[in-house]
Subunit: 173 residues, 4 copies
């Protein structure tokens, strides 16, 4: 069973609230999902995971400094190589539209790509990852997180050579 | 009197609706403001302006192709130089949070910076320019457009060596 | 056999020179690779491909307007959906360091992600795709293009459930 | 006399080598220029400066984590407002073309814009700020740093209502 790892930090709690629906959606697809805060995750856990999803509060159009330190320092020790070929993804909570949430998301994705990770976009909603901004209801953000959890798990299964449960149930061969 | 130029195109009308409040706010500060659609603006008008504000619909995380053509082809004929030192800015209308509106805004700003233009951010609201996304009321988006119109006019006046009317009225010397 | 499609345009010929080594590397891995200029590619060809690699000259920190039109207009007709789940990638030729080549590359990748495509980074060299800038020898840029061709083909094969030839030859199971 | 502040950190010494030619060029235009490492700069110095130039090593397509912490934590205490209206700029040293140097530069500029700062591009060379990459000679990078130092000083003088020395000498009125 492929294993994913969510690493996050939260400023006012909203990024933290996005973790549970993402984790549940990933596990619902038959992919294990460990959750760690930025202060507690270990380099061994990062190397062991098949995919890493990073949750950052929107901080001045970029990734939170503690998460950046994780990649600049911790993940740098054996660079390049250890994270290459893993699935990567990001989610963020900003404030109002135009507050820099998308920039923070892409800044995070650029870090993951730099490490050689594999990232998928989504044509059907939040295109680059789940974004919480004012104007979305709680139901909408939970739904967005769930859809992205499914997408990440499906990508992980596809790369592992397995079909997602939904396709199996539907009889796709 | 400094002169600004708004160049825009619109897909479903929302980017177009942002033009009037921006123009009114700029003119309210004593800066003239001409509005042109991308199909009608001339290279002479662009060169004559002291500042250029570009309004683009959010198109796949980037500037609309017609506006890009304007800078890739029309503004390229005497490049580099003609637009250097002018004030630049951008605004966009996207759909829901995460739809790429901020990326489109910054992609547009990167084009303007590449031409040597001067861009200011805003610490107090939409940080990089007015962004219309679902979840903002009409009043909020008009207010955001007005504030950015003031900011662009103030920057224009400051670069022209004049104090904005508000500061004059308040007796700042 | 998975099928990739390279779509490109070139300003002074350098982006065009990057096409052949990328195509050869992709085909060398057992993946077919069709090449089309932006003026000649059809929407049917784009939909039929398992992966699309876009080559753009560096134009003011962004993708060339003709390529943008292809995605804004041609690929928009059945959006969202038709390109989702395909491999995506980009390459560019700029001038000197700082000329906007990386921004053009990422702007292009953001378009592909917006369409739901799958993008991989590279920890070992040019991190986001092949970039030609002054200071690289012809041998170096050909080598970079080849490595990226291999990476894209391997990703395509992995997603198609096949092992790349190199792994098969090495006896990996 | 306007006062600028350079804040930087360096990984292997190259970003640090860019500081002196930038500082000299700024001072040569009649603008004072203080230099501080990220560990030693104070919030009072940042608030007192008329302009802030940030030098970061290229770290995974983004700003160095220590510099990010400076803006996320130190500069956040009185946010929004204290840095608004100041001149901003960035420089970076990466490795080879495609190594993420431009992304790091723009990520840094996005932070400065988010704080309300004023940023200018350059049509004539490195468009977004000085970038050191393999393939540039020492003379070229020093020349690029000097030109950007002049540009930043001129923008500072223009915003302060003064003409740069070169324009005064040339008799422009």
């Amino acid at each position: 069973m492929p294993a994913m790892l969510i690493i996050y930090t939260t400023l006012r709690g909203r990024t933290g609230q996005m973790v549970a629906p993402i984790q549940e959606a990933i596990e619902g697809e038959g992919v294990s999902c460990t959750v760690r805060r930025v202060e507690e995750v270990t380099w061994e856990e990062m190397q062991a995971a098949d995919g890493i999803i990073v949750g950052t509060p929107t901080r001045f159009g970029g990734i939170d400094w503690q998460l950046k330190r994780l990649f600049d320092v911790t993940a740098y020790q054996d660079y390049p190589g250890p994270l290459a070929g893993k699935v990567g993804g990001a989610f963020t909570a900003g404030s109002r539209p135009g507050s820099g949430a998308e920039l923070a998301l892409l800044n995070t994705i650029h870090v993951l790509l730099n490490h050689g990770m594999i990232v998928q976009g989504n044509a059907f909603g939040a295109h680059y990852g789940p974004v919480w901004q004012r104007g979305l209801t709680d139901e909408e953000i939970v739904e967005t997180c769930r859809r992205w959890g499914h997408l990440w798990a499906h990508l992980e299964l596809r790369l592992a050579g397995e079909r997602p449960p939904a396709e199996r149930a539907a009889g796709h061969h």
